[in-house]
């Protein structure tokens, strides 16, 4: 039975697509059969981050409207055996999505043997975001440690608890997880940025991971290589930890403390 995970946030630009790509790769690298779907119709980015933008022939809207089969639209990742991408349409907009159509596609993917279906939600709380979260079993809410992002995530958590299929049927609700991204321990220490504890207090949820601010994220998106596949980056290790926690493992939180400068670094500058 497939598990549907929505990656959402409310606020734009916090790292949903980066997170969707990295989590999908992290799960697939562990042998799971994973498909990641871009719900941002008209403003598609997932294919760029995954590095398959020149291989998109058919997209999500084509499948919903029956222009092609699901198999024709799924793009197999070149690096990881069990990973597939379903890109969004660039020429249409969110009105092309229908609840019935999305449900049909998700059912077909589940029947096709996929273990994890990652839904990359667009920003906002309109139709695209609503449909991305509606059928979810679990949600990863991406938050930046900054007040507007926290406020918008609070709103999204409210919607997850009330406007999803699981909430309406009353069978447990959507399991919510918080992922803190673009975390900068130095700015937290100087009081400019909210800390992990501040965010936990305001939103009332534990974090499933803390991803530090890293220049590797931009390099990764430029190269079309999800940052988790970069073996030396802090961001990559943080995403690996988050995937481990998603699968139920207990992993201590890394990258929340300011890295201590060694003697040479302090004498000669960092």
């Amino acid at each position: 039975m497939a598990e549907i995970i929505v990656v959402t946030s409310g606020k734009g630009g916090v790292g949903k697509t980066t997170t969707s790509a990295s989590i999908a790769c992290g799960l697939a690298r562990r042998g799971k059969r994973v498909v990641v779907i871009d719900f941002d119709i008209g403003l598609r980015n997932l294919d760029l981050i995954m590095g398959c933008e020149r291989r998109v022939v058919y997209d999500f809207v084509n499948v919903i409207q029956g222009d092609c089969s699901l198999k024709q639209a799924l793009i197999k990742d070149k690096r990881i055996e069990t990973l597939y991408v379903l890109a969004a349409s660039q020429t249409r907009d969110k009105d092309a999505l229908t609840s019935e159509g999305v449900r049909r596609v998700l059912d077909e993917l589940a029947n096709d043997g996929f273990e994890y279906i990652i839904c990359d939600s667009p920003a906002g709380i309109e139709k695209g975001a609503h449909l991305a979260m509606y059928f979810a079993d679990r949600a990863v809410v991406v938050v930046n440690p900054e007040i507007s992002s926290v406020r918008d995530s609070d709103r999204i958590l409210g919607l997850l608890a009330s406007k999803t299929a699981r909430a309406e049927k009353g069978n447990g609700g959507v399991k919510e997880h918080l992922l803190l991204t673009r975390y900068n321990p130095r700015r937290v220490a100087s009081g400019e940025m909210l800390s992990v504890d501040d965010v936990k207090e305001i939103l009332g949820l534990d974090v499933i991971g803390v991803v530090p601010e890293s220049p590797d994220v931009l390099s990764a998106s430029n190269a079309g290589l999800p940052v988790i596949l970069n073996d030396v980056s802090d961001a990559s290790h943080a995403y690996e930890d988050a995937v481990a926690r998603l699968l139920g493992e207990t992993v201590p939180l890394r990258f929340v403390a300011e890295p201590k400068k060694g003697l040479f670094a302090r004498i000669f500058g960092s």
């Binding site: 406020r151 918008d152 609070d154 709103r155 958590l157 409210g158 919607l159 608890a161 009330s162 305001i202 939103l203 009332g204």
Partner: protein, 164 residues
Amino acid sequence: MLAVGLAGASAEIEALAKAVDLPILSAFRPASHSVAAVEPVPRVEKEPVDSELGIAAMIQQQTVRSGQRIYARRRDLIITAGVGAGAEVIADGCVHIYGSLRGRAMAGAHGQLNARVFCQEFHAELVSIAGVFRVFETIPTTLAGKPVQAWLDGEVLHFAPVGG
């Protein structure tokens, strides 16, 4: 669409509110003058004994998230979790929050002057009792983060720390 309240403060609106049994949400009258934060709590007079059993309070166990609005009609509202910034909790009776209040709390929505607001951790944006409201641009240090109760005395809203 589920109507939650009526806006406006004319006599016709009030009559309509009575007829359809909805609270009036913007018959706001600002607190008449600025109030010192810490005041002695007045003694509550004993209510006359009533043989009819009242309705139990509405109980909300989940965190009230930003953008959500909870309304307890003709009874108290008890919340055993936090109220997020941008959320609204409204009751015709009292509002009791066993958690932090970061949003708006409005008690006595139909004009009950004796209604009160209680919370464990005060960071409210707005508190209103029977339409008399106060907005908190900054929260006085005597109240911030502490258990606080709010009550109405005439046209004046009072706030004071509550509990042991």
